[in-house]
């Protein structure tokens, strides 16, 4: 007898989707205002950025590495953008292109140093985190850019779908589809994954692993810059401390989303929509706990607990993928 269960049901993503629905129902019935138009709109603006930084971390985790400089990089790119638009008066569209190039360039530095020195990206990005943030603070003198063009900040406060959803969320979802396409349907995406899974085998199969790793870091810088732009648009200003000191505020959601989503920390596996769902789940829990009014400390406590749990899940995944081959 063969049960016709669609493959999708057996995946990690499906479990996540169920969890997301459970939490939505839970918070809808236990809190006041969770399902209000105001809250949903606010959620969509937050989750959009969490998805983006989750993706930015995911593409480096793919290589078996980490990008701790994510927050510092994103804020640096955003401050660079503020300078372009406010101080230099460069048109918005050109500024955005410049920001993205700048973000990719900072990512390239991470990747280049990692590949050339052979030092783990954990150490490299720990250093560049400090360097990027330090430089940025030095150059901006810790001053914010608060007079950004209105057309730019308007985008951040725009409301779609009967004023429920921010366009920022659509941008993030679109990015997910583009990345999914990259990893699933292109030569380049396959090479990135293969290089992450087994660098030695990939190299001997004719893939330039160092180039692929640098691409991953550049993509991470690019996505972090996008997140920086989105955060600037949302706040309506580019503020040096908008991601916390050294960009720390981004790190927890950046790890949580891909790891909960099913991306292996040892590299070689990506789950774009898993990361998206992971980010949604984290934002939901965050938001719900605030609404229940448990206090800042407990929110952080729970998020930390979820991260630990997700890492355990990661170990279990690795264990089961390797234990499949018990017969030899």
């Amino acid at each position: 007898m063969k049960n016709k269960i669609p493959d999708f049901v057996k995946t990690n993503q499906f479990g996540l989707l169920l969890l997301v629905i459970v939490f939505i129902l839970l918070f809808t019935f236990t809190t006041d205002g969770f399902s209000s138009r105001f809250n949903i709109y606010a959620l969509s603006r937050v989750v959009a950025i969490d998805i983006m930084i989750g993706l930015a971390m995911m593409v480096v985790i793919l290589t078996g590495g980490l990008n701790l400089s994510l927050g510092a990089l994103g804020v640096s790119a955003a401050m660079f953008g503020g300078w372009c638009m406010e101080s230099m008066g460069i048109p918005i569209s050109i500024s955005i292109v410049l920001i993205l190039i700048f973000g990719s360039f900072l990512g390239w530095i991470n990747g280049y140093v990692t590949v050339k020195t052979g030092v783990h990206s954990f150490i490299v990005t720990l250093a560049t985190m400090s360097i990027y943030f330090g430089f940025m603070t030095l150059l901006t003198e810790a001053e914010a850019f608060r007079k950004l063009p209105e057309a730019f900040t308007d985008f951040g406060s725009m409301k779609l779908f009967k004023k429920y959803i921010s366009p920022l969320l659509l941008l993030s979802i679109l990015t997910c589809f583009i990345l999914y396409y990259l990893f699933k349907f292109t030569d380049l995406g396959r090479k990135l994954i293969a290089a992450g899974a087994n660098p030695d085998a990939a190299e001997l199969s004719g893939i330039s692993v160092s180039r692929m790793f640098i691409y991953c870091h550049m993509l991470s810088g690019f996505l972090a810059a996008v997140a920086g732009i989105m955060l600037t648009a949302r706040i309506g200003a580019a503020i040096p401390s908008m991601a916390g000191h050294l960009g720390f505020d981004w790190l927890l959601p950046a790890f949580l989303a891909p790891v909960i989503g099913g991306t292996l920390l040892s590299g070689g596996k990506v789950t774009v929509f898993g990361t998206m769902l992971g980010a949604i789940l984290v934002t939901l829990i965050n938001n719900g706990l605030y609404l229940i009014d448990v206090g800042e400390f407990w929110v952080r406590f729970f998020l930390g607990l979820i991260l630990l749990f997700a890492v355990l899940l990661d170990r279990a995944r690795e264990y089961f993928t390797s234990k499949n081959s018990i017969v030899s």
């Binding site: 292109t186 087994n198 030695d200 190299e203 004719g206 070689g268 993928t321 081959s325 017969v327």
Partner: protein, 502 residues
């Protein structure tokens, strides 16, 4: 007769979808060397893992010294005097020999710190028993592969083991080291009261040192504790594969008139190769023979641009070339490399069959905007995967779930699919069962008949003499001899060994 020290009675072990062992029996007599044979996937590993406490059988009994036992961990098996020496080295490379030997029971001084004099002294005892001329203070990574193997056995002995399981102990040893190992094993059995289970794919070795044989096929006993004197090679092979063995078909040497395709002239490398000169003709199989550590694989890696060539010329089709990376070798010069280490360098175990068999052709197959989907890859690689008769439930199967033979077929298939002119093939049949081995031999011969030029590295002398057109012998990163192969085993092996030992 002597009594049974270890017995498996009617043991069955199920894995999801597979019956790995099906009512199998095994009896190890005290003081004997017992060969455990079977093709990949026949159930040998499962049996070893049950004996060593990694798995627990579903049905049947594990009996040691006529007592029923049930191990819940390898540690418990150790305590009952059972030790296993795996193919993979289990020594800690940065520790000394003494520390490794004494690791489970490090002697301590009054302050509770490790007493290194005692470590050296106690480990020396075991090294002496084995007649090993190694200083216990030597760091393991400085030893040769053969010595590491012997240290592992010493470690097993130091645990007071009376039952020793050796899993393909000779796969990385030279003929001379193998000989030494065997005389040691015989001595251990005689003097130390040790009983040995010996797993190997090399039947010559089985006949050389084993007393009894158990053959598994598809999880069942094809024969059980048979005296080796009642068997010969043909019978044994038939028991293992269920039919007669095909002997390597020697190839007619017809390529002598062809021009050189690839030529190395006085190549010196960063890794220490000295003045290497050799040439490869179109459609030729050029054998590179040598002991482990002769620098053969290292030479190939230098040619692929992974390590530096310091001086000398590399000529392809009469043009001098420089290869910077395997990518360039593949895409520009159509040169491929089938690695000896399929698990680490040949395959991406955590990815599926389709990914692994198509990885070399992605660049070639990509459409506009890098577009590449599964069906494009499938259409290209399917003929090769079919041709090699890879047994897999689907292309979505993870390669780690396939048997060793099928894994090797995939690491070959991806290079067939890439359509290279030159293939470097490194130890293609290590750890591969006889049936697949014969298949791969035929394939290599056919490839060369169809015009692919091949440099073949193998430490398996019969394989080398069966396949190669010419044999280059290497020693200490130098070429020490070149012989045209006349496919006569006795002539050729004598002249090759003469090259190595002169």
């Amino acid at each position: 007769m002597s009594k049974n020290i270890l017995e498996l009675a009617n043991v069955t072990k199920n894995f999801p979808g597979v019956k790995a062992l099906d009512d199998a029996n095994f009896r190890l007599k005290k003081g004997s060397i017992h060969a455990l044979l079977g093709e990949n996937g026949a159930g040998k590993s499962t049996m070893i893992k049950i004996i060593t406490g990694v798995y627990k059988q579903d049905f049947g009994d594990l009996i040691i010294n006529y007592n029923k036992k049930s191990f819940s961990s390898p540690n418990e098996a150790n305590k009952s005097g059972i030790s296993v020496v795996h193919q993979e080295r289990n020594l800690i490379r940065r520790f000394s020999v003494g520390e490794n030997l004494m690791l489970n029971n490090l002697p301590k001084n009054n302050l509770g710190l490790i007493d290194y004099d005692q470590v050296a002294e106690q480990s020396q005892k075991w090294l002496d028993i084995m007649d090993l001329d190694i200083n216990p203070n030597t760091i393991v990574s400085e030893l040769t592969v053969a010595k590491m193997q012997l240290c592992e056995i010493a470690k097993a002995l130091s645990l007071e083991s009376k039952i020793l399981l050796l899993d393909e102990p000779t796969s990385s040893l030279s003929p001379q080291d193998t000989k030494n190992l065997f005389s040691l094993l015989k001595r251990l059995v005689k003097e130390q009261d040790v009983s040995i289970v010996f797993v190997s794919h090399k039947l010559e070795e089985v006949f050389e040192i084993c007393d009894e044989v158990t053959v598994l096929r598809d999880g069942k006993n094809a024969c059980e504790s048979e005296n080796i004197k009642n068997l010969d090679r043909q019978k044994l092979v038939k028991l293992m594969i269920g039919r007669d063995e095909q002997i390597i078909k020697s190839k007619e040497n017809k390529n002598t008139l062809n021009e050189n395709l690839l030529e190395l002239i006085n190549i010196n490398t960063d890794l220490g190769h000295k003045e290497i000169s050799l040439s490869l003709k179109k459609g030729e199989i050029l054998g590179l023979y040598g002991l482990v550590g002769a620098g053969r694989t290292e030479l190939i890696k230098c040619l692929l641009g992974l390590d530096k060539i310091i001086s000398g010329k590399l000529i392809l089709n009469k043009e001098e070339i420089i290869i910077h990376s395997p990518q360039q070798a593949l895409e520009k010069f159509k040169i491929g490399y089938i690695s000896e280490d399929r698990k680490k360098e040949g395959l991406i175990l955590m990815h599926d069959v389709l990914t692994n068999s198509g990885i070399t052709v992605w660049s070639k197959l990509k459409k506009i905007l890098y577009f590449l989907n599964n069906s494009i890859i499938y259409n290209h690689v399917d003929p090769y995967v079919k041709k090699l008769e890879v047994k897999t439930p689907s292309y979505k199967q993870l390669v780690s779930n396939l048997s060793g033979g099928n894994q090797q077929k995939i690491s070959v298939a991806k290079w067939l699919a890439s359509g290279t002119d030159i293939l470097f093939i490194d130890e293609p049949t290590v750890g591969i069962d006889i049936k697949t081995k014969a298949y791969l031999h035929e394939l290599i011969i056919n490839l060369s008949k169809n015009g692919t030029s091949i440099i073949l590295i193998t430490s398996d002398m019969p394989e080398m003499i069966g396949l190669a057109d010419r044999i280059i012998t290497m020693k200490d990163f130098k070429v020490v001899g070149e012989t045209v192969n006349n496919h006569n085993y006795d002539d050729m092996s004598a002249s090759i060994m003469a090259n190595i030992h002169e």
